[in-house]
């Protein structure tokens, strides 16, 4: 079964074609088509993403404040950042969002997708129910969740906790609980997206694989470990990388649940909120650009590491 997935046929096909002189042009022709397809998109990405990013990189070495002149100040912004206690706290928060958010959301969404995939009756309705949180506006949902976190008798969570005999929790009013408390609605809203992608991936697994496993007499666990998960590899890779990027870039829910403060005492502040504040509240565009460069570096490194780790086998 594994060899089927490695597609050796096409590879040898290509090797054969590049070997003979007459078929050399086919390979080259394909390459021409490839670049033709890529031409316009590359221009687009360079113009819309890379050029502004380069602009931001340059800006990080200046003290630009949106309207004034850009004065080159070398690495002064970077030194300032390194000595900024808030920055280090923010970096810690950002990684915590990643470390908690990605595993929890992926496990939850996989479990739901796995069982949902087998359900036929009411499948559409159930899937819609899980997806709805993803559709709702963050501002509106954050308002609702803030009420859930209130102290009793208003806050639903605390009312349940106390009725089961536990003591009430400060949630958003605690420097230790605030981050998980803010992360929860973000996970809640993000699961729908992951479930749909998992479902698409699960549906793409050919039935023949399962039939073969049934013939082999494999139990549910073995099927899961040896058929389902390996077949889902591209999907899992995709979700791990995109979810990591999403949680490292978390902003909407934090902003809406903490009145834009990222508090209490910066306990929930992620890097993007710091960038937002620096750029649009303090108008220090140069310093904000510096923070963006750092964020970009983190995202790039983590994504490359994950891609490598999840591909090697």
């Amino acid at each position: 079964m594994r060899s089927r997935r490695r597609r050796p046929k096409s590879r040898s096909c290509l090797t054969r074609s590049t070997a003979s002189s007459r078929d050399l042009s086919i390979g080259q022709k394909r390459a021409v088509w490839a670049w033709a397809f890529l031409a316009l998109p590359i221009v687009f990405f360079v113009g819309i993403r890379f050029y502004p990013a380069a602009d931001a990189l340059l800006a990080s070495f200046t003290n630009w404040n949106i309207v004034g002149k850009r004065e080159w100040i070398g690495v002064a912004n970077y030194t300032r950042l390194a000595h900024d206690a808030v920055f280090w706290k923010v970096i810690g928060n950002t990684f915590l969002y990643l470390a908690l958010g990605v595993p929890i959301s992926l496990v939850l969404s996989f479990v739901v997708a796995y069982y949902l995939d087998r359900v036929r009756f009411g499948h559409g309705l159930l899937r819609a129910l899980y997806f709805v949180p993803h559709l709702a506006t963050a501002v509106a949902m954050a308002w609702v969740w803030r009420w859930f976190y209130q102290a009793p008798p208003v806050g639903a969570f605390n009312v349940w906790l106390t009725s089961f005999g536990f003591s009430q929790m400060p949630f958003l009013r605690s420097t230790t609980q605030a981050l998980p408390a803010v992360l929860a609605p973000a996970i809640w809203a993000g699961i729908g997206f992951q479930i749909v992608i998992f479902l698409a991936g699960l549906k793409a697994i050919p039935r023949t694989y399962y039939e073969a496993a049934a013939i082999d007499g494999a139990g549910a666990w073995r099927v899961l470990l040896e058929v389902t998960l390996p077949s889902l590899r591209p999907t899992i890779v995709f979700l791990v990388v995109t979810s990591s990027i999403a949680y490292l870039r978390i902003f909407d829910y934090v902003y809406a649940m903490t009145n834009g403060q990222g508090g209490p005492l910066d306990a929930t502040k992620p890097l993007v909120l710091m960038i937002f504040d620096t750029a649009f509240k303090h108008f220090e565009m140069g310093y904000a650009a510096t923070q963006t460069v750092v964020l970009f570096a983190i995202l790039l490194v983590i994504s490359l590491l994950q891609l490598k780790a999840l591909r090697s086998r």
Binding site: W33, P41, A140, W143, F280, L299
Partner: protein, 272 residues
């Protein structure tokens, strides 16, 4: 697949309970939209005296319908563009071997890592230079192709069997036709998913449309909803109402495309 009926029922019930729990905050939002502002601070799920007054105010207040149409038009156009270009690029990166392939992929992937906050001002300068401000194009142009979509389509195109493509080539189809007629139909689940997410992402985009538009007739829904928040007060019942109405098209898009995913899979199953 061995699964006893009781187990199935239990699974189904648990899934349903989970689904209901997921939807509860959303239900609160809908409930709040039906309350007047004296009730909205009693945090109950159902309104005591439900009223459509907020909805009336929302639609009578200049613009909501206009914002809606704007968001719809732009969202549809951008989604179409993303579906076309991102699939094309994803397919190329998945199915063609050429030098620089991995570099191009990583480069496009890296565009996901640049936060919008930093791109917004260069985009503004660009839009101003070309006269795109206060136009649909000005709002739409940054989102016409996405690294996210390229990544997604690439992953799904990888599982398309090369034999089918080679067969099509032998039949005399050129590369574009191979992609459009043979490969694309095989990834409809992914296309549907991409369509949903692109539409949704566009529907909720706030920062760039806010900066690109000053003409109130061109507001998109999130920008318009922001006008319910003032310097010191937020009319929460209006925010809830606006948010409720804003969800409707996204739900419709999702419900429509969700069926298409299933249909697409059935067709693909028949072909195989």
């Amino acid at each position: 697949m061995s699964s006893s009926n009781p187990a199935k029922v239990v699974t189904w019930t648990l899934l349903l309970l989970g689904g209901i729990v997921m939807v509860i905050p959303f239900a609160y939002m809908l409930g709040a939209s039906l309350k007047l502002n004296n009730e909205i601070y009693e945090f109950s799920l159902l309104p005591r005296a439900p009223t459509l007054d907020n909805y009336r105010r929302l639609f009578e207040r200049s613009g909501f319908l206009r914002w809606f149409v704007n968001s719809l038009l732009i969202g549809t156009a951008v989604t179409a563009s993303v579906l076309f270009f991102d699939s094309l690029v994803g397919y190329t990166l998945a199915k063609f071997r050429f030098r620089g392939r991995y570099a191009v992929f990583v480069a496009i992937l890296s565009t996901l890592m640049i936060p919008t906050e930093m791109l917004v001002l260069p985009w503004y300068s660009m839009a101003r230079t070309f006269g795109w401000l206060d136009t649909y194009w000005g709002i739409a142009f940054p989102g016409l192709m996405t690294g996210f979509g390229v990544f997604l389509m690439k992953q799904f195109f990888e599982s398309v069997p090369d034999e089918l493509l080679d067969a099509a080539r032998l039949d005399g189809l050129n590369e574009f036709q191979v992609w459009w007629q043979v490969a694309m139909p095989l990834v409809t689940p992914a296309l549907s998913a991409l369509a949903i997410f692109t539409f949704l992402g566009n529907w909720t985009a706030f920062l760039w449309p806010l900066i690109a538009i000053t003409d109130r007739n061109l507001y998109t829904v999130p920008v318009g909803l922001a006008s319910f928040s003032g310097e010191f007060q937020t009319e929460w019942e209006m925010v809830m109402t606006g948010a409720s109405v804003a969800t409707i098209p996204t739900i419709i898009v999702f419900l429509l495309l969700q069926r298409y995913i299933i249909r697409g899979i059935a067709l693909a199953g028949l072909k195989a």
